[in-house]
């Protein structure tokens, strides 16, 4: 009866901090989840500097890399996670399938575990102590307006194609943007990176040189920082090619504007998010938090997220919360047999349409890199600032 009075404060980006989730929690578990949606900068800041302002942090793995050493989060005991074994390999061993190659960048598993409770460094392999419980992830690529481009787009190099001068955009979040840049530079053959996820200063300089040049030439219409900006840029036709997030494509499409999440031959840049527990959480609240996590992985949220185009960390539980048509369309990359709608009821696809990029394994299998925090991050960040100011 006490759980009813428990209030857990969760913050994160608007991507997954959904009120529907909070309502469902209240319904299924009885306690209150307070959701605060922030932009990704504020998310990092809160996690790093205001440990008292939250109980549950809904953050991305690259943010985790930055924030973990502050000690604001506590590790989770995997033995208390019911569906732990069903979590996809990416988050445990780093391999989607036993023979997948691990992509460059801050792959989730590299910051997913710590050797023992209280440790501030990450473990090299799977342990019983998990930093974040994976919740949501996706493979990102470039979004395009096929109606305005009118020809196939196949490579990341197209982002800097002078054809799209003044009509291209990338996002202004350094840890993510640098990876998009790297994908472009590598595809252009201008730079051979040792490890895109951990560039040297020279590689960083070279990358920025190329993009600064492009920026000065007026290649970019704008840089976007929020989800919303990317949607507006694309929907209003300000931009015809840009780095984008999957639901943003969906949002553009739901307005009846053609927009494609274009799979590219060099592969995807991927990201993953998870929930972490504040180190101040204990007792009944901690128990409630575990209860919440288990509920999170039990399928309802997964289904909810997958129906927006994200992936769930435990796909098989989510399957039960999706229709066959939905599962086929979103996960298996099959032709839709009926209209596909979002969780809020907006029509996203007609029968007969296929998801851009195909099935889960096609998409997550061709991840070329993860959003990253590199060793030279401080240097990179300063360079990024210079790039923006250039």
């Amino acid at each position: 009866q006490d759980t009813k009075n428990i209030v857990l404060r969760q913050f994160g980006t608007g991507v997954s901090n959904l009120n529907d989730v909070a309502n469902k929690v209240k319904e299924d578990l009885g306690f209150t989840l307070e959701m605060t949606a922030l932009d990704s900068d504020s998310v990092t800041q809160r996690a790093a500097t205001q440990p008292d302002s939250f109980d549950i942090a809904d953050i991305e793995y690259w943010i985790c890399k930055k924030v973990w050493p502050t000690g604001n989060l506590q590790a989770m005991d995997t033995s208390k996670i019911a569906n732990y074994d069903k979590i996809v390999g990416i988050f445990r061993s780093g391999k989607l399938t036993p023979d997948s190659e691990i992509a460059q960048g801050t792959a989730p598993h590299t910051v997913g575990f710590i050797p023992e409770p209280g440790a501030k460094t990450f473990a090299d392999e799977e342990t019983n102590w998990m930093t974040l419980i994976p919740t949501i992830y996706n493979a990102d690529t470039l979004g395009i307006r096929p109606d305005l481009i009118g020809r196939p787009i196949e490579s990341w190099t197209e982002l800097l194609n002078p054809e799209f001068k003044g009509k291209a955009s990338i996002l202004d979040i350094s840890s993510i943007g640098i990876m998009d840049m790297a994908m472009v530079c590598e595809a252009m053959g201008e730079i051979q990176y040792g490890d895109k996820g951990n560039m040297t200063k020279e590689e960083i300089d070279a990358t920025f040189a190329i993009f600064t040049e492009a920026k000065r030439n007026g290649q970019f219409r704008a840089f976007w920082k929020t989800f919303d900006e990317s949607v507006n840029l694309m929907a209003s036709g300000e931009v015809v090619i840009q780095s984008m997030w999957s639901p943003a494509i969906t949002a553009v499409k739901s307005r009846g504007i053609p927009c494609v999440y274009q799979p590219l031959k060099e592969g995807y840049r991927s990201w993953g998010g998870g929930i972490g527990l504040s180190s101040s959480l204990s007792g009944m609240e901690l128990d409630a938090a575990y209860e919440y996590i288990n509920w999170y992985l039990s399928g309802w949220v997964g289904g909810y997220l997958m129906r927006q185009g994200y992936y769930s960390a435990v796909p098989e539980t989510s399957k039960e919360f999706m229709s066959e048509n939905e599962w086929g369309y979103w996960f298996e990359g099959k032709e839709a047999t009926d209209v596909i709608t979002s969780p809020t009821g907006d029509k996203l696809a007609e029968a007969g349409e296929v998801r851009d990029g195909g099935s889960f394994y096609d998409r997550m299998g061709s991840v070329a890199c993860w959003n990253a925090v590199m060793d030279e991050n401080q240097y990179m960040v300063r360079k990024w600032n210079e790039f923006i100011a250039a």
Binding site: F11, T36, S42, N232, A251, R255
Partner: protein, 278 residues
């Protein structure tokens, strides 16, 4: 009525353009808030509906507009009251030359001109280093006061520069204590200006973004919430919010002007034979 010079019409036209310019976004917001249910934040319109106004009163996919609104309202009122009280007190203080008044004045000016983000950063850092919790009602409140108080103070200067000291002397002469003088004479006389200070304080607080950014803590104020909402699928619901706000302001100001007009009429009637006979 007098004939107006040509310059009047030129300037009036310029003024209209200026108002149009000020209202440009407001009008855009107004139009787009009537987007059809499928429409987005930009043109073209996809149908016309009041869907988003209805939607505004339902729970959003993300965030808590009304919670944030309540907090902003609460914070706005707190800031408003504090600003009025503190500015009046400080205004009274500055009427005499006390040791250090010059210094305090320059500190207040600094508070006015210091870039907002520095306040936000500094307060955030202090709370962080002292291990205090930032919260909109503590650190956020303080941060906003550094912005509203100097404005309040400047208005009080303007008010007291025009305030005739002999009113107070007359009150003292009539046996009023210092407090009675303030309570029964000074405050009633400056009351109209205090309404101005209050409105100003509330508006500045209600729309404050930069100073609250790092000082609001777990719960967002409305501007922060709107900003947060833009990180997700933003819908014309925020336009609906904007349109309602505008209509609401019009209503308030309309009521205010009507009140002033009625008062003026009443007074005119009462004093219509003033000055006749000695």
């Amino acid at each position: 009525m007098e004939k107006r010079p040509i310059s009047f019409y030129v300037l009036a036209a310029f003024f209209c353009l200026f108002v149009l310019f000020l209202y440009g976004p407001t009008i855009t917001i107004g139009i787009l808030s009537f987007q059809g249910p499928q429409g987005g934040l930009t043109f073209p319109m996809r149908g016309v509906s009041v869907h988003w106004f209805r939607d505004l009163f339902q729970e959003q996919a993300v965030g808590d507009i009304w919670g944030a609104f309540r907090r902003s309202l609460g914070l706005g009122l707190m800031v408003m009251v504090t600003t009025v009280v503190v500015s009046v007190m400080a205004g009274l203080a500055f009427r005499k030359r006390f040791v250090g008044s010059g210094l305090l004045f320059y500190v207040a000016i600094t508070s006015l001109v210091i870039p907002s983000i520095l306040i936000s950063l500094g307060i955030g850092l202090i709370f962080n280093q002292l291990g205090l919790k930032v919260h909109w009602a503590t650190s956020g409140f303080g941060a906003q006061l550094t912005w509203t108080l100097p404005f309040g103070l400047l208005i009080m200067f303007a008010v007291f520069n025009r305030f005739d000291k002999s009113y107070e002397e007359a009150a003292r002469d009539q046996g009023a204590t210092s407090w009675q003088t303030i309570r029964h004479v000074v405050l009633p006389i400056i009351a109209p200006s205090l309404i101005g200070v209050a409105l100003f304080g509330f508006t500045l607080s209600y729309d404050e973004f930069a100073r609250t950014l790092l000082t609001a803590g777990s719960y967002n104020t409305l501007p922060l919430e709107v900003f947060g909402m833009t990180t997700n699928v933003t819908s014309p619901v925020i336009y609906a919010l904007g349109t309602l706000t505008t209509l609401f302001s019009f209503a308030i100001i309309g009521v205010f002007l009507l009140g002033a007009w009625v008062m003026a009429k009443r007074r005119a009637r009462l004093g219509s034979d003033a000055g006749k006979g000695v």
